[in-house]
Symmetry: C2
Subunit: 360 residues, 2 copies
Amino acid sequence: MSEIPSLQRAAVAALLRDDVLAMQGYTPGEQVNDCLKLNTNECAWPPSPAVQACLSQLSGESMRLYPDPMSHALREAAAALWGHPANGIVAGNGSDDCLTMIYRSVLRPGDRVAVPWPTYGLYDTLASIQGVEMLHVAWQDHWQLPIQEFIAAAPRLILVANPNNPSATMVSVQELVALAEALPQSVVVVDEAYIDYATADSSCIPALLTHSNMLVLRTCSKSYALAGARLGFCLGNPEIIAQFCKVKDSYNVNALTQAVGLAAIRDQDYHQQLVEDTLAAREDLMADVRKRGWTWPPSCANFLLCHVGPQAESIYRALKARGILLRWWDRPQLRECLRITVGTPEDQARLFQALDEVCA
Amino acid sequence: MSEIPSLQRAAVAALLRDDVLAMQGYTPGEQVNDCLKLNTNECAWPPSPAVQACLSQLSGESMRLYPDPMSHALREAAAALWGHPANGIVAGNGSDDCLTMIYRSVLRPGDRVAVPWPTYGLYDTLASIQGVEMLHVAWQDHWQLPIQEFIAAAPRLILVANPNNPSATMVSVQELVALAEALPQSVVVVDEAYIDYATADSSCIPALLTHSNMLVLRTCSKSYALAGARLGFCLGNPEIIAQFCKVKDSYNVNALTQAVGLAAIRDQDYHQQLVEDTLAAREDLMADVRKRGWTWPPSCANFLLCHVGPQAESIYRALKARGILLRWWDRPQLRECLRITVGTPEDQARLFQALDEVCA
């Protein structure tokens, strides 16, 4: 292996955009081998057996040939599942890919993006890449949506994770619709990555029929247990979605993911079981957390944002040393918190045994 | 399924970027079921049996959890294969994804991209998405690189597919290095998607050691028969590659693709056999094409750009009606040409039998 001489900083700077040099890359949650991962909100159980079966049956032809650029079969399955027209749905290489389509299609130089803060960190990273200003609007008390601040700021694009990450809290469809109606020249994206863990009728998909400036994101990474396969969807007005298809990577969803995604979506019985098992395990997790005196906002997702106190960081590090990952952020609003993903009963038993040792 | 009221054009325009509304999306080669596809330069044979075996063994865990964001195992395998440092390699969701990283990292408002023309159409689409001007510099006679025109134009980014698509011709490493040396403030990308079908020592990878403004793209879509899996690589100076990693989608290569890509790259015996079979079939294809009196530039790839004459379009359409797809473009330089992908001996027999009928 040859050694490449180290470039001078100035030489790199000459070849790349200043804003790329200056930006922070997104830091994904730690992926450490042989750890108990309760840090990135994956499903605690594997995907449907139909997924495994479909992989064994995949033909060499389906790997040799380019995939369907428009993921037609997936779009049709998603349309039937969510009651939205297929031509109002585009599939992405994860919903992160759908976010990229949105940023690229909507944001002009000088435009601003706004999010209630804190939320999913990737929204910031994408604003840096697009070279636009990001506005953090603090959540109101009890994670209520700061609607008036958004209306006053009138940004070009607003993103609301609903349920929110990292708080697991929700705002109502009515509030989100009111926001979209108050800002008809803005695009309001509702990222529903965790919505299968929330109550029925909490999705904004039905509102898309009458609000063309609203978009909804869905993912198979959480409740379908397919984070490894990368599959997400953006739903909206078909004329808007048609424009997104122009800016998406031409073969953005590979053939393997199209096949396993379809298998997972078609096995709704298994999906329902995954959700029920997760909600039951969340009850157990809450009971254990409550015993320690920690508090958390009401969770509508597969995780809890626990207020632990000043020892949050040391607990995070001590657990990590024992091979258990939770999520901790070195940020003002979150420094005393730990985010815990719902695990299997065995995962959670291991976590609380380790916590007993760590806190002893 | 509910119907969404059609949006007024003005309402769409108000929500999206003008340049996105105005741009043409990239038109991938047709993907038609149950056709003989000799139109998108896929490998004629399926991938290594090791790929199929690896799919059958994929665990539910690898699908449940997020993939390795940096595709470390793939980078190491690519480093060993191509003799380039692993930290000077980034994997992409196809090399199209690597192109997106390059455009986003390099191009500032007002910058220009240039390509020798005609070439791979996606380079244009990405320029539209990035909102920068694309300069088409006509190839010189016999598909020679127009070096002086590039130097005079001094664009920020130059892309050269080598071998070129659709001509299958190559330019020398010396010329590409001379171009990079003449324009030290420009980034020169050499897209080597088809290079495994060319002669040895025709790759620019060794030049990356000493030319930090050069980048090389590689793909598993062609000679590894994995177009369906979407896997490409960008190679360059490690400090440049580190910046690309900041703008890439955080989990850009899914876990299934990481696994099958690794299996395919590790089976170099099978890969070598695929390349040899392709080159042998290319000889047969050339012999058959020669009999028809068609001409083509010397091919260094798995396809021929045949000059067919004014009847090219009608032949293309007649073959399509018989379930055989070739590539034809309604463009001034290419209207009299058909691009034919190398097929299996059976594929090619079927093609020429159909051609006999069509031309009779």
